[in-house]
């Protein structure tokens, strides 16, 4: 397996099966092949878009890359480490280097926690960063945590005074900024974003997309960007994976996929999108 140094994420033959409930007491339980033999590589500082309809396996792929579940087959190699082979505490430490932004800014922030706690939690829960440098949460004083959180908020265009507020005091776009600040605070190399702007209005969506592009330039981040909106993926991503029923049906540079789609499913997606893009 070739693994050049600038390959950040190397996904090898990834498959995931979910068991279905038994239809009757004596029937054999069926299963669903949510993802079937998907492989790709993502270079540092680049963005990979994942498109497909609901049920195509987009979110399953995102969850597997985030090591939120174990695949039935295949490997997720992040910076040369097999995430699923890592022991619990090593994985926990490694997590500071890859973070996630979810679709629903109303459901992904704990309504009972203040922004300070929401944004600083990845810092305090990942204990040490992967380079071994002591970033122990106990060593980080409350003031340090607060400073880092304030800095993260400023980077996403919010104010340090927002740290003492609760999520309900913010609009949808601001909440998604808070979610991005939470992902950024550990200085990750990779952010997995699962439909990060789908729940936002057009004008707010533009602000958040611009912010994500700015942050990528500033920090050399990589995005694994899951979206059903091809125009957004075209804007944000260098390369694109097209999933259908858990299969990778087409992969290539964004230009190739959007200008010269080969697979009939990609062509269908594209024609559906051109009629409907926002």
């Amino acid at each position: 397996m070739i693994s050049s140094p600038d390959i950040l994420l190397d996904v090898q033959h990834l498959s995931q099966q979910y068991a279905l409930p038994k239809a009757s007491l004596f029937a054999k339980a069926g299963h669903i092949q949510a993802l079937n033999d998907v492989s790709f590589q993502l270079a540092a500082g680049k963005s990979m878009g994942v498109v497909g309809e609901s049920g195509s396996g987009k979110s399953t792929l995102a969850r597997l890359v985030m090591a939120l579940e174990k695949p039935t087959q295949g490997k997720v190699m992040f910076k040369g480490q097999d995430l699923n082979a890592l022991p619990q505490d090593a994985l926990r430490r490694a997590r500071s280097d890859f973070q996630m932004v979810f679709q629903d800014p109303y459901g992904s922030l704990d309504p009972r926690q203040k922004v300070l706690r929401i944004v600083s939690e990845p810092l305090s829960s990942t204990l040490n960063n992967p380079s071994g440098q002591a970033l122990n949460a106990q060593a980080l004083s409350p003031q340090d945590l607060k400073d880092r959180a304030a800095q993260a908020l400023t980077e996403v265009g919010l104010r340090a005074s927002d740290l003492d507020k609760y999520p309900h005091e913010f609009s949808g776009g601001q909440r998604q900024r808070i979610a991005i600040a939470r992902a950024l605070i550990t200085r990750p190399s990779l952010i997995v974003a699962d439909e990060p702007v789908s729940a936002l209005d057009v004008s707010v969506q533009a602000q958040v997309l611009n912010l994500m592009m700015d942050l990528q330039e500033r920090y050399g981040l990589s995005y694994l960007f899951v979206s059903h909106d091809l125009a957004v993926v075209n804007l944000m991503c260098d390369d694109v994976l097209v999933l259908q029923h858990g299969q990778l049906v087409e992969a290539g540079s964004a230009d190739d996929i959007f200008l010269r789609p080969q697979h009939p499913y990609t062509q269908e997606l594209l024609s559906a999108n051109t009629g409907l893009s926002h």
């Binding site: 309809e53 609009s171 209005d201 004008s203 707010v204 611009n210 091809l230 125009a231 409907l276 893009s277």
Partner: protein, 354 residues
């Protein structure tokens, strides 16, 4: 349904809705005016909180208890705002019907779908259960639900999102209403399914000669589905035009901002999108005048004093279209359909800049 009524299908005049909130009584609709004739399709576009859905709910008489309505809503000349709930019930589902955004929650999970389609038929047309079930099957066939006969006894959870939305549409059409209100009917669906469902609504509305009020935040969708579009912002309609004119001219600063902000296929990777400065104001924080005033590059003092009045935009007369210049009206469309107006005193400057 091709009978011509003297009064328009739907006439909404100076519709205001005030909501009782923890910040006191707040006006969430600030005087909405429009008219629809049978067979017309009208789109209502804007971002969350601008009053699109509130307009729809006011027409259907489904506003929450803490809302108070003033102004007039008339269906075929019959005033709805003063109507008792019992009388409204005889109209709702029969003369006017609505499709909601969430096909997952709008259907009752405890009843098989045929019963839910049969309910308006029993209620409004006095059908017995057997004939209502037979009619439900016809309706499901009409909305092209695959294997409709087998699915009659299915429960909503056994259907996909697109299938559920088809069931919703068949319920709305059961009594052949005069007007169909579709509030973000495809937002929860996959893009390829969206296209199918929209085509279906389009076809059925045309077949029955219904009026369609389509609500969406998606500009691209409007272009293919409706003849006329109204853009809403901050509880008021800020621009109204034929779909073609709106897409070509976009004269209100908010309309322009909305069009510029959307990502489009073909943009170069990394292109920054144009954004509208500032945020949508909260309801309790709405400016006295134009709700867009604080975000507008063309703002004048008068914009902050009160809601700018409607200004009529003269039509651009294309030479090849005007066969008879002395005849005045060169199109065969009703005048108000072609009318283009905008709530902005500075629209001429904007057009010159564009």
């Amino acid at each position: 349904m091709s009978t011509h009524h003297a009064s328009p299908l739907l006439s909404v005049r100076n519709l205001r809705v005030a909501l009782q909130t923890s910040h006191g009584q707040l006006e969430a609709l600030r005087g909405v005016d429009f008219e629809m004739q049978s067979g017309e399709t009208l789109g209502l576009i804007g971002e969350s909180g601008c009053g699109k859905s509130l307009t729809a709910l006011a027409i259907m008489g489904l506003l929450p208890d803490h809302a108070s309505v003033s102004g007039s809503i008339a269906l075929h000349g019959t005033e709805l705002t003063q109507m008792s709930e019992d009388t409204l019930c005889t109209l709702r589902g029969a003369r006017m019907a609505m499709i909601f955004q969430e096909p997952m929650t709008a259907l009752n999970p405890l009843h098989p779908i045929w019963k839910q389609i049969a309910e308006p038929l029993q209620l409004h047309q006095g059908m017995d259960l057997v004939s209502a079930k037979a009619r439900a099957l016809e309706l499901l066939d009409r909305v092209q639900l695959p294997r409709a006969r087998e699915r009659l006894d299915n429960y909503p959870h056994q259907l996909s999102g697109g299938q559920r939305q088809r069931v919703m549409i068949s319920m709305a059409l059961a009594c052949q209403p005069d007007i169909l209100i579709a509030d973000e009917p495809t937002t929860a669906l996959d893009v390829t399914v969206q296209k199918e469902v929209l085509a279906l609504i389009h076809q059925l509305v045309a077949e029955d000669g219904m009026g369609l009020l389509l609500i969406s935040h998606n500009l691209g969708l409007m272009r293919d589905q409706v003849e006329r579009v109204m853009v809403m912002y901050g509880g008021a309609v800020v621009e109204s035009a034929s779909t073609k004119d709106l897409f070509e001219r976009r004269l209100h600063p908010y309309t322009q901002g909305l069009f510029a902000a959307r990502p489009q296929l073909g943009l170069k990777r990394g292109t920054r999108l144009q954004t509208i400065a500032g945020n949508v104001p909260e309801l309790f924080n709405w400016p006295k005048g134009c709700a867009f005033a604080d975000r507008c590059a063309y703002v004048k003092d008068s914009c902050k004093q009160g809601l700018p009045p409607i200004e009529l935009v003269p039509q651009i007369v294309h030479v090849n279209e005007s066969k008879d210049k002395d005849g005045g009206e060169e199109t065969d469309k009703p005048r108000h359909l072609a009318e283009h107006w905008v709530r902005c005193p500075e629209w001429q400057k904007l057009e010159a800049a564009a």
